[in-house]
Symmetry: C2
Subunit: 347 residues, 2 copies
DNA sequence: TGTTAGCACTCCGGCTGCGGGAGTGCTACG
DNA sequence: CGTAGCACTCCCGCAGCCGGAGTGCTAACA
């Protein structure tokens, strides 16, 4: 990372004006346009000097000699970093959020699906969310269900998570043994997924009998539940927004983006990656992250939490030429509401 | 629908050749190209006459006077209808299918997800599936789970379907009443979802006590489980294929297509609609269906079944300029394997 | 020293005109 | 009925040209 000196306040103002104008119009912006904007009060010639300097510093580029300027990723970065903390929502947006959270929905998974939809409608980008991990959640039910030739392992978490897995039922496992095993599993209630998994592995190791494999299978069910491998469990919504004509993505780039959005594991890691650094709102712009760089995309994410523990992450993906101000305000507002709701459900 | 006379066998051959060539190249095909193809043995001038006739009959169009011909939806329809029943899979495809179904997966929902992925890889289009309705499936578990201030209704079906719903726990419902209600629910085991739902409504009607709402809520859970409203439950995969550069969709059309693919209810109805008419493989081309017409798309679907009862539908969506032969072969093969697997799991 | 007016210069994008080529439809002939 | 031949149509790519938007530089000014 190159060390960059603080920009003068006029340079900063020019950069802001360019970013905003470019985000609005989608076209390279010229010095004249900026000079005419109220608030800078300086001629286009001066703006041209500033622009040349900003380009020298890496904040702007040209598509060609006689075109206007467009922001680089670094330009967007500076713009975002120097944004006032409290971006404002439009009234309609505020109302949409309020009315969504006014409905009493008790299931956090459902709420997340809805929130992602909501965000995608608010921002016109695609919404994403990583749901809470169940690792530290107490188990309230752990059952083996007889299903004829097969059987189901069913785990229910304190906060409403349900996981299942279907297994072959070994011939050696008669009804008595099934009930016996189920009784042993019932003893694990109240433990967290992690604890229960460890306990099962221990039991299986001690247990030379034939139920060993069964215990291992149950442990495996708990493991995948924690890592979200069974079904991925990243929530994605509003991807059709990304195919909008206004978004100037190349076809191939768009394809790759969709491809990644289908690989839930990957998306999950990206989201965890980008939100790891910061405690609140995190913005990742284009090439700043290897994955998002591949598709010219930016991410705006925020964690939702109960007290000090982070439950998950919610946010949007869009083009680098994104309306960051509005996206940040929307994501922040939704994340806050989610935190409130989660706190309430928890209590 | 205009009544169309049987095409002569040469006209039909010409139409076939044009469809296949156009699907391959994506460009309007000229009389010369067809004449050079082995199998017709007639000069380009003759082909031109045939083409003019086919255009007159509505099977072909021109983009402009001096361009080659492209098939209309009606042209594709005739092509598809006169295709030999057994399209052949390439060896690699056959192997991919075999190896997928060789893995022992016991959960039909998981299998469907995988099958849809498989189909999308085989065909390079997007895969779709409607899972079995749970309406006539016996319930093996129906539980109320205490979750502190809330509680969960949990229903498990004979074939592995799990549904849940989280409810507010009324203050009036103490632990004793909860267990009492749970005992009553346990009596519904063995009934199908439909039966259990009806029974619950009846119980609620007779029951003047305060648990009435609770019973209604449980009934509602069973209802949405049947109609797939909770989560939609259409399985979609490989949508990134649709954004491939080779597919000549306009941006706006693509957007609408993605939009529909996100509305699971709608997709489900479309699929049920198109597969309703036929007992086996069904092909819907472009404007033949109001929905698919909106996005220039074609659907190839097939039911999977156990014995005589249809469980669900699986298929692909792609552009009208689709490789129908290969898509049909893939869908047919996967549907057959699914039926076999379902029969096995059932037995 | 910073700002500004002026100006030459660059380069894109749209318009025009011009073949070349692909493909058609028609006609006349075997 | 099929085919060879041919005139005709229309797209598409290319070259050249112009107008305009926007730049960078210079010189003058506060």
């Amino acid at each position: 990372m190159v060390e960059r000196a603080e920009l003068g306040s006029r340079k900063s103002a020019v950069l802001h004006a360019i970013v905003e104008e470019y985000v609005r119009s989608g076209e390279p912006v010229g010095s004249e346009t900026i000079a005419e904007r109220a608030g800078i009060g300086v001629s286009s010639a001066t703006i041209r000097n500033e622009m040349a300097a900003l380009e020298e510093l890496g904040y702007l580029t040209h598509p060609h000699t006689s075109a206007g300027r467009i922001p680089t990723d670094i330009g967007y970065r500076h713009y975002v970093d120097s944004l006032p903390a409290g971006g404002r929502l439009r009234d309609a947006q505020r109302r949409a959020i309020a009315s969504y959270f006014a409905e009493a929905i008790l299931d956090l998974e459902e709420v997340l699906k809805g929130s992602v939809q909501l965000l995608s409608r608010l921002t016109q980008y695609a919404g994403l969310a990583v749901p809470p991990s169940v690792a530290d959640e107490p188990i309230v039910r752990l059952e083996l269900i007889d299903m004829g030739p097969t059987m189901m392992v069913l785990a229910v978490g304190q906060h409403g998570r349900v996981d299942k897995r279907i297994l072959d039922r070994p011939e050696s496992l008669d009804d008595r043994a099934l009930r016996e095993t189920e009784r042993r599993l019932a003893e694990l209630r109240g433990m967290t997924y992690t604890e229960a998994q460890a306990k099962l592995l221990k039991l299986a190791a001690e247990d030379a009998r034939e139920h060993r494999d069964l215990l291992l299978d149950v442990a495996e069910t708990l493991r995948t539940a924690q890592h979200g491998e069974s079904g991925g469990h990243v929530v994605v919504g509003g991807v059709s927004n990304l195919a909008d004509e206004a978004q100037a993505w190349r076809r191939e780039t768009l394809r790759r983006l969709f491809e990644t959005l289908e690989r839930e594991q990957e998306i999950m890691h990206v989201l965890q990656d980008v939100s790891a650094g910061s405690a609140g709102l995190a913005v990742t712009i284009g090439t700043e992250h290897p994955s998002t760089g591949e598709w010219d995309a930016s991410l705006v994410t925020a964690p939702f939490r109960v007290g000090d523990t982070t439950l998950g992450t919610i946010g949007v993906v869009g083009p680098t030429r994104m309306d960051y101000l509005s996206a940040m305000a929307s994501v922040r507002a939704v994340a806050r509401r989610l935190s409130e709701l989660a706190t309430e459900l928890d209590g």
